[in-house]
C-alpha cells in the first residue's frame, strides 16, 4: 500500500504534465490549472496517508523498486520512503498544491496558461524524484530535472529578453555546481562501488578523512549551485524574472532547498569529515550575512525576497554544517511556509499593482489589500523571528545548536544573530515601503485585492507559518522524534537547555526587535537610499559585474580565439590542407588520364606483360 502511494506521488503530477503536454492548449484556462492542482493535491493526500505510520512512530523505511536501470553497476530506480523524504514530499506537495491553486488566479489570462501548469506539474514530479530517490544516480536525475524545470519556468515569458537571459544564467550557474556533484558521485562510486544510499551512508564512517572531505566539499559545490550559496548564488536574484508563483514554489520553498536536503541526506559523509561540515557552515553563515546586506538596498520587492531566500538558505546550510540536521530541515520546512507566503503575497501585490514591482512606487497598500497585508504581516513577523511564530523556533534552534558547538562556532552564531537583526530590518523596510505611508502609485494604477483563488493559499500558508513551528519547540521535539530514524547514523547537534537556551532565545528576539525598531523609525516616512554604500549594496557588491568581467569576458575571449584563430587556422587549415594535398596529387596524376582509349589499352597491355613477367619469374623458366 505504501509503495503504491509513494509511486503515485511521483506518477500523478508526471501524468498530469504528460496529459498537458499534449492537451494543455485544448484544456485551456482554467481546466489545465484544475487538473494540475488536483494531481498535486492527490499526491499530497497519498503522501500524508503513507506517512501516517511515521507520525505514530511505528513507520519503517520502505524501498520501492521500480526497475533495473544499469544492472551492470547495480543501479536500480528505487524510491526511499523514510521520515526525511516523507517530510520533504509533504512540504513539496503541500506547498505545491497551494501554489498551484494560487497560480490559477495569478496566471489568469496568460496566453500559455496550459503550458505553465505543464511545467509546474513536471517540476513537482521532478522534485519528488529528487527527494524520494534511494540512490545518488536517481537523485541526480531529479536534480537535473528540477534544474530543467527551473530554467523553463524562469524564462517562461521568454519574449522578455531579461527573462530569457535569466533562465540561461540559472542553467549555466547550476551547471557549474553540477560538475561538483558529478565528480562527487564518481568519487562515491569509486569508493563504494554503488550509488545506493543504504550502502554508501552506512559505509561512510569507514571513509578516510581526506576522501570524506573531498566528497563532502564536492557535494557542497553541487548544493551551493542548486541552493544559491556563495559564490554560486548569482542566478537566484535574476530568477525573479519568472512568474511569481514560480519564484515562490521553486526559488523559495522547494527546489533551492535541494542542496540542504542533499547535505542532510549525505549526513554520514559530512559526519566523517570535520572539515567538510565546518566549510558548509561557514559558507552558509557567510551567505546569510552577505545576502542579507544586499537585501537591505533592493527596491524591487521580489529581489528583496530573493536575497532574503539566499540568506535563509544560508541559515539552513549553517545548521546542516553544524550537524544540526533536524534544525536545518525544520527551518527548511518553516521557511517553505513563510517564504512561499511572502512570495505569494508579493505576487498578490504585483498582481494588484498591474505588474509594478518597484517598492518606491507602492506605499499605502494596507487598506487596499487587507488580506494580502494581514498575511504578509504574519510572514514578516515570522521571518523576523518573533515568538511564537514558526520562524522563531527554527531559527532559534539553529542558532542555539551552533552556539552549543562552542569554540569558533560562536563566531558563526554571532554572524547568525547579526543576520537575524538585518533580516528583521529589511523585512520591516519592505513592509513599510509597500503597505504604509502615502501612496506613490504610477498613474492609472488602481490596486485591488486579489481573487479568492489567490487569497486562500495566502491564508493557508499564513496559518501554517503561525503554527508550523510548534512541531519542534524546545518543549516538544516532535519533529526530532519524527526524523530520528533518518539520522540514526549520525550524532545530531542539539541546542542548549535550561537558562542558556532562554538567554539565547532572548538574544535572538532582541536582535529581531532592534532590527524592526530601527527600520520602523527610519522608514516611518518614505525615503530612498542614497549614498555610496547603499549603491554598492543595491548592486549586490558588483558581484555580477565581476563575474561578467572575469568569467563571461574571458570565456568570450577564449571562444573568440577558438572561433577566429584556432578554427580558422588550425581546423580549417587541416581541412583545406587535406583538400589541397589531394588536389595537388590529382594535378600530378592528371596527365595520366589522356582521354585516349588507346593509351589505356597500352597501359593494360603493359600490365599484362608485367604480370606475365611476374608469373615467369615465379614459375621459373
Amino acid at each position: 500500500m505504501t509503495d503504491l502511494l509513494v509511486s503515485a506521488a511521483i506518477l500523478l503530477p508526471l501524468s498530469g504534465a504528460l496529459v498537458m503536454v499534449f492537451f494543455g492548449k485544448q484544456l485551456g484556462e482554467p481546466w489545465a490549472g484544475y487538473l494540475g492542482t488536483l494531481t498535486v493535491v492527490a499526491a499530497f493526500g497519498g503522501a500524508a496517508i503513507a506517512a501516517a505510520d511515521f507520525f505514530t512512530g511505528t513507520g519503517e523505511t520502505v524501498v520501492v523498486r521500480w526497475f533495473d536501470w544499469f544492472p551492470a553497476f547495480g543501479v536500480a530506480v528505487e524510491l526511499r520512503w523514510d521520515p526525511l523524504s516523507a517530510l520533504m514530499t509533504l512540504v513539496v506537495t503541500g506547498v505545491g498544491s497551494l501554489i498551484h491553486l494560487y497560480s490559477i488566479g495569478y496566471m489568469h489570462g496568460d496566453a500559455r496558461f496550459g503550458r505553465f501548469f505543464t511545467y509546474l506539474n513536471l517540476f513537482v514530479a521532478s522534485m519528488l524524484i529528487l527527494v524520494l530517490a534511494n540512490n545518488f544516480a536517481v537523485m541526480f536525475v531529479g536534480w537535473e530535472l528540477v534544474g530543467l524545470c527551473s530554467y523553463l519556468l524562469i524564462s517562461f515569458w521568454f519574449e522578455k529578453e531579461t527573462a530569457a537571459a535569466a533562465g540561461k544564467k540559472a542553467f549555466v550557474v547550476n551547471r557549474v555546481g553540477d560538475v561538483g556533484f558529478i565528480v562527487a558521485l564518481m568519487l562515491v562510486f569509486s569508493h563504494f562501488g554503488t550509488f545506493s544510499f543504504d550502502e554508501v551512508l552506512e559505509g561512510a564512517g569507514g571513509l578516510a578523512a581526506g576522501t570524506a572531505t573531498a566528497i563532502g566539499l564536492l557535494l557542497l559545490v553541487g548544493a551551493a549551485g542548486k541552493s544559491a550559496q556563495l559564490p554560486l548564488y548569482v542566478w537566484l536574484p535574476d530568477a525573479m524574472e519568472g512568474p511569481t508563483p514560480v519564484s515562490a514554489l521553486i526559488h523559495a520553498a522547494t527546489m533551492v532547498t535541494a542542496g540542504v536536503y542533499l547535505v542532510a541526506r549525505a549526513a554520514p559523509i559530512f559526519a566523517a569529515s570535520e572539515v567538510a561540515g565546518a566549510v558548509v557552515a561557514i559558507v552558509g553563515a557567510a551567505t546569510a550575512l552577505f545576502a542579507a546586506t544586499i537585501a537591505l538596498a533592493q527596491r524591487d520587492i521580489k529581489r528583496v525576497l530573493a536575497y532574503s531566500t539566499i540568506s535563509q538558505l544560508g541559515f539552513m546550510f549553517m545548521a546542516v554544517g553544524a550537524a544540526a540536521y533536524v534544525a536545518g530541515v525544520f527551518h527548511l520546512m518553516t521557511h517553505a511556509f513563510f517564504k512561499a507566503l511572502l512570495f505569494l503575497g508579493a505576487g498578490s501585490v504585483i498582481h494588484g499593482m498591474h505588474g509594478e514591482q518597484d517598492m518606491t512606487r507602492m506605499g499605502g497598500l494596507a487598506r487596499k489589500m487587507p488580506i494580502t497585508f494581514a498575511t504578509m504581516a504574519i510572514a514578516w513577523l515570522t521571518i523576523s523571528g518573533i515568538p511564537p511564530l514558526s520562524g522563531f523556533w527554527s531559527k532559534d534552534e539553529i542558532l542555539g545548536s551552533v552556539f552549543e558547538r562552542g569554540g569558533l562556532w560562536v563566531v558563526l552564531f554571532g554572524v547568525g544573530l547579526l543576520t537575524a537583526a538585518i533580516t528583521a530590518f529589511y523585512m520591516t523596510r519592505m513592509m513599510w515601503l509597500t503597505f504604509f505611508g502615502t501612496p506613490r502609485w504610477a498613474d492609472g494604477v488602481h490596486p485591488h485585492e486579489s481573487p479568492r483563488v489567490m487569497t486562500f493559499p495566502l491564508l493557508a500558508l499564513a496559518a501554517l507559518s503561525v503554527v508550523g513551528g510548534l512541531v519542534n519547540t524546545p518543549f516538544r521535539t516532535s519533529l526530532e522524534h519524527f526524523l530520528d530514524p533518518a539520522f540514526e547514523l549520525v550524532a545530531l547537534a542539539h541546542p542548549p537547555e535550561g537558562s542558556l537556551a532562554l538567554t539565547l532565545a532572548g538574544a535572538s528576539v532582541l536582535a529581531a526587535l532592534i532590527g524592526i525598531a530601527l527600520a520602523a523609525v527610519r522608514y516611518r516616512t518614505f525615503r530612498t537610499e542614497e549614498g555610496r554604500t547603499w549603491r554598492i549594496m543595491g548592486r549586490g557588491y558588483y558581484v555580477d559585474d565581476v563575474y561578467a568581467q572575469v568569467f563571461a569576458r574571458t570565456g568570450k575571449l577564449g571562444a573568440a580565439w577558438l572561433a577566429f584563430r584556432f578554427d580558422a587556422r588550425v581546423i580549417d587549415g587541416a581541412v583545406e590542407g587535406t583538400g589541397g594535398l589531394v588536389r595537388r596529387i590529382g594535378g600530378w596524376m592528371r596527365p595520366l588520364q589522356t582521354g585516349f582509349v588507346r593509351s589505356y589499352g597500352l597501359a593494360i597491355a603493359a600490365g599484362s606483360v608485367a604480370m606475365l613477367a611476374w608469373f615467369l619469374s615465379r614459375g621459373g623458366l
Binding site: P591, Q593, T594, G595, F596, V597, R598, L602, A605
Partner: protein, 101 residues
C-alpha cells in the same frame, strides 16, 4: 611430324598479339572492335586445343559461352559506335577524348 596442341597455342598467341597491335595502333573504332574479336577467337582456339589435349569437353563448352558473350558485346558495341557516329560524325577514338584529365 605431328601437330601438337602447342602449335595451336603458338598460332593463337601470334593471332592474339596481332589483335593487341590492332587495338594499340588503329584509331578506327570498328577496326579496334575487330581486333577484340580476333583476340577472342585466338583464345577460343586455345580452349579447343587444350580441351582436346586434356580430353575435356568443357573446353568446347567454354568456347560456346565466349561466343555468346562476344556476340552480345558486338551488338552493344556496334550500337554504341553508331550512336557516337551519329552525334560526332566520326569513328576515330582519338577524337572521343572528352574524359581527358
Amino acid at each position: 611430324m605431328t601437330v601438337t596442341p602447342g602449335w595451336y597455342m603458338a598460332l593463337a598467341a601470334a593471332l592474339f598479339v596481332i589483335g593487341v597491335g590492332g587495338i594499340l595502333l588503329r584509331r578506327n573504332a570498328l577496326v579496334m572492335f575487330m581486333s577484340v574479336e580476333l583476340m577472342l577467337n585466338a583464345v577460343n582456339l586455345t580452349f579447343v586445343a587444350a580441351g582436346r589435349e586434356l580430353n575435356a569437353i568443357e573446353g568446347q563448352i567454354s568456347v560456346l559461352f565466349v561466343m555468346v558473350v562476344a556476340a552480345a558485346e558486338v551488338v552493344v558495341g556496334l550500337a554504341i559506335i553508331v550512336a557516337v557516329f551519329r552525334r560526332r560524325k566520326t569513328a576515330s577514338v582519338d577524337e572521343l577524348a572528352g574524359l581527358k584529365g
